[in-house]
């Protein structure tokens, strides 16, 4: 009698059930293994304090509450043993040429998901809004808080601001506020925001300004957001997407994809004469898409565009009075590594430009460029922030810090 084949029919059907069970288990494992993770779910985030419906002001958190030590609970991206100055291999970034010598000016280099914004808080903590969530950088170590880990409710985090007591984090799922870096209150269109997709934030010393997918919002003292859209402004705000937002005196600067719309906030937003938009067709602005904005301490407006970095030479008051705006444009022909500029940061008399091909410092019209060959984590500089004697740089490879005194030594 020949041995029976394992798959041969059994009169009782027991073999069939056995093999069917094996296949079932293997198939289920296979299916689960290759099911893509569901990102961005916020329902199961234990650390989030939900915003009560109908509330006009955020519930108060204890002022100056100490930041709890949560490192043990949160995912640590950089090992504790990591020295503050990284190795050449780490600085070179994946796939990039390894620098022969690591310049001494690099103080910190922390690999992270692509960084959309960097901020140095008044308490010295450094925050990064990344495609993966919110990161806190302290002493050269990064704590990445993500929805998947339940430590931050949204991804991507897109923008950052600090009002002196609270950290504000923009995301594509609303605006978040935190005082302790652990608990986050969420604000959405239901709270008066123009839209839940936040692209830019700016704290002007008294008011929080929010650039969204559908216009701008600003936070009123009563805790509600007031909104200005293209429709509300009767076309004064040239378009809806607000990629960058800033403030110069009583002028709100709104960077969109039809140029730079300026609102004299002394006048109602619905008054068309309260607005002026500077575009590339009527002026020498390098491009209509304003990707980033900055105002230097002495009041110079800088606009980062896909066509170059632009410095407004005409005083804003004169532009609002009808004068044609005049721009000085810095681009590849003036030594920048690329025409597309994603970030701009005035520091003292210098201006730093985050480009798609590297980082550039402009001083007295001359340019000094830093690329991955110099230890930049990645060639696309997406965000910049100033600390004490330090420039913080966010790229698609992570965050790093450059010591200004060593850079010029």
């Amino acid at each position: 009698m020949s041995p029976r084949h394992p798959l041969a029919r059994d009169p009782n059907g027991s073999n069939l059930a056995f093999w069917a069970g094996i296949i079932l288990v293997l198939t289920l494992i296979y299916s689960i293994r290759f099911t893509p993770p569901q990102a961005g779910r916020t329902q199961s985030i234990p650390a989030v304090l939900p915003m009560p419906q109908g509330a006009v002001a955020p519930p108060p958190l204890p002022a100056n509450a100490p930041i709890p030590r949560t490192e043990e609970r949160l995912p640590v991206v950089t090992p504790d043993e990591k020295p503050p100055v990284v190795s050449p291999t780490e600085l070179s970034g994946a796939g990039a040429a390894i620098a022969r010598t690591v310049p001494a000016w690099w103080q910190v280099a922390t690999p992270l998901p692509p960084v959309n914004a960097v901020l140095v808080a008044p308490d010295g903590l450094v925050w990064a809004a990344t495609e993966g969530g919110l990161a806190r950088i302290t002493a050269g170590q990064a704590l990445l808080m993500t929805p998947d880990e339940g430590s931050f409710p949204a991804k991507p985090a897109t923008a950052l601001a600090h009002d002196g007591t609270s950290l504000w984090i923009g995301s594509f799922d609303g605006l978040f506020r935190s005082q302790d870096g652990r608990r986050f209150q969420r604000y959405t269109a239901a709270d008066g925001l123009a839209h839940d997709m936040i692209w830019s934030l700016h704290w002007d010393g008294a008011v929080l300004w929010v650039g969204t997918q559908n216009g701008i919002s600003f936070l009123l003292p009563n805790g509600r957001f007031e909104t200005v859209t293209k429709r509300i402004s009767n076309g004064g705000l040239a378009d809806l997407w607000i990629g960058s937002i800033g403030k110069l005196g009583h002028y709100a600067l709104c960077g969109n994809d039809d140029g730079l719309s300026i609102w004299d906030t002394r006048l109602p937003a619905a008054n068309p004469s309260a607005w002026s938009t500077i575009d590339m067709f009527a002026t020498n602005l390098a491009h209509n898409w304003i990707l980033s904005l900055a105002v230097s301490p002495e009041g110079t407006v800088w606009a980062a565009t896909p066509g170059g970095l632009c410095r407004l030479r005409t005083p804003v008051e004169r532009v609002m009075s009808g004068a044609t705006a005049d721009w000085e444009v810095f681009n590849q022909s003036r030594g920048l590594p690329a025409d597309r500029i994603d970030a701009v940061l005035p520091v003292g008399n210098d201006v730093w430009a985050g480009c798609t091909g590297g980082l550039a410092r402009i001083r007295n019209g001359s340019t000094r460029v830093i690329t991955p060959a110099d230890g930049l984590l990645a060639s696309d500089v997406r965000s910049l922030a100033a600390g004490s004697g330090t420039v913080w740089i966010g790229t698609s490879g992570g965050v790093q810090a450059l010591a200004l005194d060593l850079f010029d030594r």
Binding site: A17, A20, T27, Y30, I32, F34, P36, F172, M197, Q213
Partner: protein
Amino acid sequence: MTRSFGLPQFVALAVLVAIIWAGFGIGGNTLRIGVIAPLTGPTSIYGISMRNGIRLAADAVNAEGGIAGQRLELVFADDANDKIAAAEAAKNLIYRDNVKLVIGTVSSDATMNVQRVCEKARIPMLTSVSTNPFITRVGFRYSFRCLTDDTVQASELASFAVRTLQLRRVAILHDSNKYGSMGARVYAARAAELGQSIVANAAFDGGTVNFTKHLESIRPLNPDGLLIWGLAQESGLIVRQARELGMRMPVLGGDGMAPAGFLDIAGPAAEGAVVTMPFNPAKGGQAARAFMERYRGAFGSDPDSFAAHGFDALHLAATALRSSVERGIPVRDALAAIASYDGVTGKGGFDASGNETRPVELARIEGGRFVPATGQ
């Protein structure tokens, strides 16, 4: 004899369901492509054509075994020609649905709002319909277009108007959106270079139905040509109302007037109009004929330019995904490496900025049909 449904039968049934579940990729053994298009509202004539072409191509790829054993799964999102909805759709497709690539959308305004989300997330976006030149002139590494842009379309139309039609004084009516305003701007610039005068250049908002005031302001200027840069619904109404007002000058337009829906709205008033026609079936040869036959079989109508470009877009996406899997490179790099391709719309390719490289065809409306224009 009674037969009970016991454990063995239950397990066998579960196995069957699990195999079907896994086999059809529902469990995740798929490569997801997001598709954003207006599938409702007046501009759905573009979006539905595009969707049909994409579906046909995806079916063909899957019928041939998919990509490295993985099926293509299309995730559709309706933006209803709303740029905010388009941005939200991009966000959901990328961060919720984990698509590898986004195809879309139709309106240039909407596409620009999609491309910014894609660039931030580093997910490639390929548009097969939107023609505003800015889409590939913002230095974005993740934006691609497989359709001739308005710089080429409007320039070609201006040359034809001056050199072939001998038009000297043209009036422009354009949509106030980014598609219409940029098309009109490029045409006017090229016309000025060629010595053609633009006697009027007026904008209208999407959704306008009565163009009497626009046309009556143009008529006293005696233009010898009327350029319309807008979408099918408004353009069709403009042509009809112009003819009703006795304005008989030649009409010119961009590929916004290329869908069959324009002919339905304009009716006989469209006769003689010259439009840019990125899809000339003769250019695609046997592949185009086979595509048209399959399209007719599947949807019961002739494919238009938007269906054909959607079909090519999906094949480009599939090519990039396949190359990405086989070579272990990012999808974006695989897409950027496609310097040339041979699709149903003809031979094309991407330049260094991700833009389409080929020229555009012109068509004249004759007998209610688009016929390749001669004298180009």
